[in-house]
């Protein structure tokens, strides 16, 4: 792999290190000097108001998007500087759980989980079958191996996607809104899986999520991002009791605050014609 070595000092336990990240998409500044560290073996939650760039951050970590400036270091390599081949090598060691599961709709559950193995590992069919069934057993869906994605509920699809994401025993899993649209039972199943994978396999996990109760149960550390910058960080319980306008609004669920209720607009009275020289 054409790895690009880290040129500046990095804590030995940080699997992911983001420094001075600046990204502009169109006219909007998404990140304006963002710094994030994710220790190995931890579960880190990325939170923030909608549209603040949480998913964009995950896309930077996987090299799907290149930043305008700054470095994104994953396991000692600077992701934006990787060649395509090296990037694909890195991605084989990263699992990604998409918000909508992103299962391949033409393939059965079994074939979806087997897909990465078939593409990258020349394994005998029997061994491949055993690995796939082991992963499906881990997410409780071995019995659903022959179902098609259209036959699955949202929670089941999320678990199949998780089985596919861990099929190569990755060092890092990125979860993009893993709890969205799940009923309480499915949510707890996914939550338990995230914890189990982290504890038993030591997989580092980064979660983008809004569900505060779930985050408090599972995350070791929370980064709160807003306006392109890191506005707060710490353990979930610490953050919930921190007295800053951002944490108060976000953890208190206040409708108005640093994140305004109203989208920027011209003066209301003027727009309705109640103000101006002719009145």
């Amino acid at each position: 792999m054409n790895a690009v070595a880290v040129t500046h000092g990095s804590p030995a336990d940080a699997l992911v290190q983001v420094r001075g990240l600046r990204t502009r998409i169109g006219a909007k500044m998404i990140f304006d000097g963002l710094d994030v560290d994710v220790p190995r073996g931890s579960i880190t939650a990325i939170m923030g108001p909608s549209g603040t760039g949480k998913t964009t951050l995950l896309r930077h970590l996987t090299g799907q998007l290149r930043p305008d400036a700054g470095s994104v270091i994953v396991d000692g390599v600077d992701v934006p500087k990787l060649s395509r081949r090296a990037l694909f090598n890195l991605r084989e060691r990263i699992g990604f759980l998409f918000q909508n599961s992103a299962l391949l709709t033409d393939f059965s559950v079994f074939e979806n989980v087997a897909f990465p193995l078939r593409q990258h590992a020349r394994l005998p069919e029997e061994l491949l079958r055993d690995i796939v069934l082991t992963k499906l057993q881990a997410v409780g869906l071995r019995g659903a191996a022959q179902l098609m994605p259209a036959e699955l509920s949202g929670g089941m699809a999320r678990r199949v996607a998780l089985a596919r994401a861990i099929v190569f025993d990755p060092m890092l899993i990125l979860y993009d809104e893993p709890f969205v649209g799940l009923d309480p039972i499915a949510l707890n199943q996914v939550l338990r899986l995230i914890k189990t994978l982290n504890k038993t396999l030591g997989i580092t996990s980064i979660l983008v999520a809004h569900e505060l109760a779930a985050i408090r149960q599972v995350a070791d550390r929370v980064y709160l991002i807003a306006n392109g910058k890191l506005v707060a960080q710490g353990a979930p319980d610490e953050l919930a009791h921190q007295d800053s306008p951002w944490t108060r609004q976000f953890f208190g669920g206040e409708a108005d605050g640093p994140v305004p209720f109203h989208y920027p607009a011209p003066d209301y009275a003027t727009e309705l014609g109640f103000a101006g020289p002719h009145r």
Binding site: T62, F88, F98
Partner: protein
């Protein structure tokens, strides 16, 4: 339409052609890697080729029958009905076979390919492949492009055969033209190089054009239901225009 809108429309059109050109280069660049996915290419040849057989055969049969009726009437004015087989064969091999087959494939398989890839884009399946270190250009785009190039000339051959069969059915069986005259004049006049192979070259080019447009439109479809529907429509419209334009240019060079 004011001047600014017209200029924007023109610039967007030029930019789209440029994007399509770059996409074509990317598809060609991914072709060697896509040979790894030969099973996927075979599946796509089946989908584009075999699944289009019914419509291609049916249309070929009826076009051959209509040609026979029209040409028999026209040729009979000049006392030249013995040339019926030759004229049907030349019309089919040189023009109607490649062009009508391409238009049919654009409508049946091209739209399906665009909708399929557009939905894969909308449901993050292409991104998921990229995240699993599988290049979607090599796994999705190139096999579908290659399938179009392979299937189109084969379908055109089937179309031509059915057209001649339809022409024979009407000319010989129904209108009473001599069977020997029908086949004899045809085989002695139609040239393998000038007529049959030139038609096949056209089919190969049309196969490339239709599948490139279909894959490009799917790949660049906005991830909404309206976006996919609009891209599907554009596949048919652009394919039809480009097929007819290319047909004119190629015919001008081949004759």
């Amino acid at each position: 339409m004011n001047a600014n809108l017209r200029r924007n429309w023109l610039l967007q059109g030029i930019a789209s052609v440029g994007d399509c050109g770059l996409f074509f280069a990317a598809v060609l660049g991914s072709l060697p890697k896509s040979l790894r996915y030969w099973r996927e290419t075979c599946r796509q040849v089946w989908f584009v080729g075999a699944m289009s057989l019914v419509i291609v055969m049916t249309c070929g049969l009826f076009i051959g029958m209509v040609l026979a009726l029209q040409l028999y009437y026209t040729l009979s004015i000049f006392g030249g009905t013995s040339a019926l087989g030759t004229v049907i064969a030349l019309s089919l091999f040189r023009e109607l076979g490649p062009v009508v087959t391409a238009l049919l494939v654009a409508g049946r398989a091209g739209t399906a390919v665009t909708a399929e890839i557009g939905l894969m884009r909308a449901t993050d399946q292409l991104d998921a492949m990229g995240m699993m270190a599988v290049d979607p250009m090599a796994y999705v785009a190139s096999p579908r492009f290659l399938a179009g190039v392979i299937a189109m000339p084969l379908l055109a051959c089937v179309f031509n055969a059915m057209g001649i069969f339809g022409g024979h059915l009407v000319g010989v069986t129904w209108l009473g033209l001599d069977n020997g005259t029908f086949w004899g004049n045809m085989t002695s006049t139609v040239s393998l190089q000038r007529d049959i192979l030139d038609g096949l070259y056209k089919s190969i080019v049309f196969g490339g054009v239709v599948s490139l447009i279909a894959v490009f439109q799917g790949y660049t479809a906005p991830p909404t239901s309206e976006g996919v529907a609009y891209s599907t429509t554009r596949t048919v419209v652009f394919s039809s225009i480009v097929i007819l334009a290319f047909d004119f240019v190629m015919t001008a060079f081949m004759t």
